[in-house]
């Protein structure tokens, strides 16, 4: 009797504990997002109206009226890129999802292709297809000029296809098997089923891919800077204003201009994504082996297969050439095997890899946790202002990394929070830059878990956080996996803000990569890339294995194949 009472008291105490914890977490998240996303971006925006110490809209006026040409250049390349990249991703996703036994391998390559160190991939593309490209010139005897908007479109299409395909695979896998069987029973052939069941159900995902690629293309300056030639757009202009003219005001205003399409896209995203998840809720996904029976056939499959094969071919060439470059040396135009790049890298840079690894692990664990918690409060607890909050979380993903970095310096260069010059500023920036991918994936997963579960748990007396811990978290393992992989990977290989935030004495590997490229040391840059790719893929695979080993099947966005 007494022990029962004690037990009950303990329960009450623990319930109260969870209540307080709940409030603490909410306030903590709000403060974090306001401090590390809202505030820095606001500082950037305000910098544009602060002309020589006094308030003026001059810079904004000038930027908003004089850059139509750049805006148009950004827009048309972004639209074409988004379109092509999405179509390509549909092809890849379809081929992968219906591929049966090959799936593990195809997923593996896709996962590797997520790890795309900045600049070096564009450079390897020039090396393969440029005027003296080993394929265009060496094999075909052509002398093509790859510089210009077309080069940018091709490169971005390929870069963005990996993440798009992973997202689509996640959606296609969730198509209800009953629907496919019903279609077959009603005499529909595989192609009809594909067009009338599979594609319509994944359509919102397809549109989301389009919008995401559109925004990424707008914000990407690395690709146009390397292979844009005379092509200029808003993001290259921001780069020029920052790196060339050191004009913070103008680059701030340009950034604000770039946020306009981002806001439009975000609203569309919210609308479409909620619809898409409702369509797929509660279905029973098919087993891998059964999937093959529903593969599209004939010409349709051929049309989907062709771009996929080209994509995989490009990936092999690209990563192959980076690998070859990192173990070779050029002498009077002749390439020979050499360990020099490796030895140079090892003697001068091994500590930067170690530092990268530590940073990326922190970013992956902390960032994923924060991202998942945010999406829990937005999706499950329907916090007021949640949509605005969600927009804040998404915003850093949509602006060029260099500007988000400058925002951090503007925001945190003096007391009370002086972070400039510390490792923390680099890590925080990485965490909040990529937060939105984790929240998006987790939000999608939440809509798949019936809310009745929460209610049942509440009826049984559990506090909300207890429900989160005991009921929801076990169902979110795969979102955790996607968040971790994305955060870890981007922390390892994204250059954007790092250029401004990293200080002497805390160089990380991707900084040295940037450095090697800027001083024209391509062999060394290739070597650094190779090591970065290997380390990143290795850690991701180990992590996914560990997660899988803990029981339960991971099941979002195709990490399943691993």
């Amino acid at each position: 009797m007494k022990s029962k009472q004690n037990n009950k008291r303990a329960q009450v105490r623990s319930a109260r504990f969870f209540d307080i914890l709940d409030k603490l977490i909410i306030s903590g998240l709000v403060i974090l997002v306001l401090a590390f996303i809202f505030y820095p971006i606001l500082c950037v925006i305000l910098r544009g109206v602060n002309v020589e110490g006094s308030f003026s809209l001059k810079v904004y006026q000038e930027v908003f009226t004089k850059n139509q040409k750049l805006l148009w250049n950004s827009a048309y390349v972004a639209i074409i890129t988004a379109l092509l990249s999405t179509v390509l991703a549909v092809g890849i996703a379809t081929v992968v999802v219906f591929s049966g036994r090959l799936k593990g391998f195809l997923m593996g390559v896709l996962l590797v292709s997520m790890v795309s160190p900045p600049f070096i991939t564009s450079l390897s593309y020039i090396q393969l297809f440029g005027r003296r490209g080993s394929i265009t010139h060496g094999l075909l005897g052509l002398s093509l000029d790859p510089y210009g908007p077309i080069g940018v479109i091709i490169m971005q299409t390929i870069f963005f296809a990996s993440l798009n395909a992973l997202l689509l695979i996640g959606m296609m896998e969730k198509v209800d098997q009953n629907l496919l069987q019903a279609a077959a029973d009603l005499g529909s052939d595989n192609n009809d089923t594909y067009f009338q069941v599979v594609l319509p159900l994944t359509l919102p995902g397809v549109i989301v891919c389009f919008l995401l690629s559109f925004v990424r293309s707008l914000a990407d300056y690395g690709t146009p800077v390397v292979i844009g030639g005379r092509y200029e757009n808003l993001s290259t202009e921001i780069y020029m204003q920052l790196i060339g003219y050191a004009n913070l005001e103008k680059s701030a205003a340009l950034n604000t201009l770039l946020l306009v399409p981002a806001i439009v896209v975000f609203i569309l995203y919210r609308l479409l994504m909620s619809k898409g998840n409702r369509l797929l809720q509660g279905g029973t996904p098919l087993k891998e082996e059964e999937m093959q029976h529903y593969r599209p056939r004939g010409l349709v499959y051929g049309l989907l297969l062709l771009p996929t094969v080209i994509f995989y071919g490009m990936m092999l060439l690209q990563y192959g050439s980076i690998f070859v470059n990192s173990f070779s040396k050029q002498q009077k135009g002749v390439r020979t095997f050499s360990l020099e790049p490796f030895l140079q890298m090892w003697s001068r840079r091994k500590d930067t890899f170690f530092r990268s690894l530590v940073y990326a692990l922190v970013v992956a664990l902390v960032g994923t946790l924060i991202g998942m918690l945010i999406s829990y409060y937005i999706e499950r607890r329907k916090l007021k202002g949640g949509k605005f909050f969600d927009f804040l979380v998404t915003a850093p993903y949509m602006i060029p990394g260099s500007c988000f970095g400058i925002g951090y310096i503007l925001a945190f260069n003096s007391e009370p929070i002086k972070l400039t010059g510390t490792a923390a500023i680099v890590i925080l920036n990485m965490i909040f830059k990529q937060l939105s991918i984790t929240t998006k994936v987790t939000s999608a997963a939440f809509t798949q878990i019936p809310e009745e579960l929460d209610m049942a748990s509440a009826d049984l007396g559990a506090k909300r956080l207890q429900t989160l811990k005991d009921i929801l978290l076990p169902n979110l393992r795969s979102s955790f996996a996607v968040g971790f992989v994305n955060n870890f990977t981007s922390a390892m290989v994204t250059a954007g803000a790092v250029i401004f935030l990293v200080n002497a004495g805390q160089k990380i590997a991707v900084f040295t990569l940037f450095d090697a490229i800027n001083s024209g040391k391509y062999a060394e840059a290739s070597m650094i890339s190779t090591v970065l790719i290997l380390v990143t893929v290795l850690i991701n695979v180990i992590f996914l294995r560990l997660l899988k080993g803990k029981g339960g099947e991971s099941h979002v966005s195709g990490i399943k194949g691993y």
Binding site: L70, V225, I243, G244, K332, F389
Partner: protein, 354 residues
């Protein structure tokens, strides 16, 4: 309840943001120079250096050995340094700026971002190559010339260009690569120096040259590396030790233009309000006070242009005759920068033209 918490928190933050965000004007440097008795005693701490290359490690090691502070360094382009400094609002993360086009140093001084460093040996330095008020110094100059890919020239049946005027010949159409002068200090030197040389005809020259240029690259090393890779036949580039390496790896030659070489001094300065001000000043004084340091620098840079900054260093000789350099009024480099780049951008139509 939570909703209200959220709303209140948002409001509080917004208000404090509006109050705090703007008021970070750069403090003016309070430069009461107190470098009296730091000679004999060793200095503690760390010196953070922004350098143009990682090769300076041995030089920094010697400083640590002789004076005390550990040196950590990082390489950044001048534009990055300036943007970062401006964003930091007077609380720089680094102490010393070692290398980079002098025009950026002039800009930085103008914006109050540099610290005055007075020391005896400063009197031995050529006045043209340092700031008259000792806000910045230089450690040599970057000279500019051409690099050509012999294979491609041969394939196209072209002679290698010998002079700046040659570059505008129609046969080189689409074969010349130059960096955007806003990004590249060396190519800015080309524009400024040739404008000084050619006077009123200067802009016409660049319009003619523009017809032959494929595009203006956004990284300073592109002209040389892309010529080596066979992407273009001719590059307008800085001439330094890395070009010798390129000559090893590919069939390229370096050309010194007949009219003379534009050049730009490479700056050295201490940042204003830096954390390790004492060490920063000590470094600059140490660096210029012993010729051994300058010799080591010459060895690392694989050039002896430090002789222009401090003539008569024993054992060093200039690799070119001084009259091979164009005559430049360096004082115009900083003051004309904005105007020249703006005009250049309009005339060369790089605002999104195909």
């Amino acid at each position: 309840m939570k909703k209200r918490i959220l709303a209140i928190l948002m409001m509080v933050t917004m208000v404090s943001v509006l109050a705090g965000c703007g008021k970070k004007a750069a403090d003016d440097a309070n430069s009461d120079s107190k470098e009296a008795d730091e000679k004999s005693t060793k200095i503690e701490g760390t010196l953070n250096v922004v350098a143009t290359s990682e090769n300076y490690q041995p030089l920094f090691d010697r400083f640590t050995e002789e004076v005390g502070p550990e040196v950590e360094f990082i390489s950044m382009s001048s534009g990055e340094v300036l943007s970062k400094l401006k964003a930091e609002g007077g609380t720089p993360a680094a102490d010393v700026w070692f290398g980079g086009g002098i025009d950026a140093f002039m800009d930085a001084k103008e914006n109050g971002l540099l610290e005055q460093v007075n020391f005896d040996a400063a009197a031995d330095l050529t006045p043209e190559y340092k700031d008259s008020e000792n806000y910045y110094f230089s450690k040599g100059v970057t000279v500019v010339g051409f690099i050509v890919n012999n294979e491609i020239l041969e394939e196209k049946g072209l002679e290698a260009p010998k002079s700046w005027d040659d570059l505008t010949k129609p046969e080189y159409e689409g074969e010349i690569l130059m960096s955007n002068p806003a990004i590249s200090g060396t190519n800015y030197a080309v524009v400024n120096a040739l404008l000084q040389l050619k006077g009123d005809a200067g802009w016409q020259y660049f319009e003619d040259l523009n017809k032959n240029i494929t595009y203006y690259s956004k990284r300073g090393s592109d002209p040389s590396t892309k010529v080596a890779a066979g992407e273009v036949a001719i590059g307008i580039t800085y001439i330094d030790g890395t070009l010798a390496e390129l000559e090893e790896s590919a069939d390229v030659s370096v050309i010194y233009p007949e009219e003379g070489m534009p050049f730009v001094p490479e700056g050295v300065a201490a940042f204003a309000n830096s954390e390790n001000e004492e060490a920063a000043k000590a470094f600059i004084e140490w660096f210029y006070s012993d010729d051994e340091n300058l010799k080591q620098l010459a060895e690392i840079d694989q050039k002896n242009t430090v002789l222009l900054v401090k003539p008569e260093i024993e054992g060093l000789e200039l690799d070119f005759k001084q009259d091979e350099l164009l005559t430049e009024d360096l004082s115009l480099f900083g003051s004309q920068r904005e105007e020249i780049l703006e005009k250049w951008a309009t005339l060369m139509g790089d605002k999104g033209e195909e």
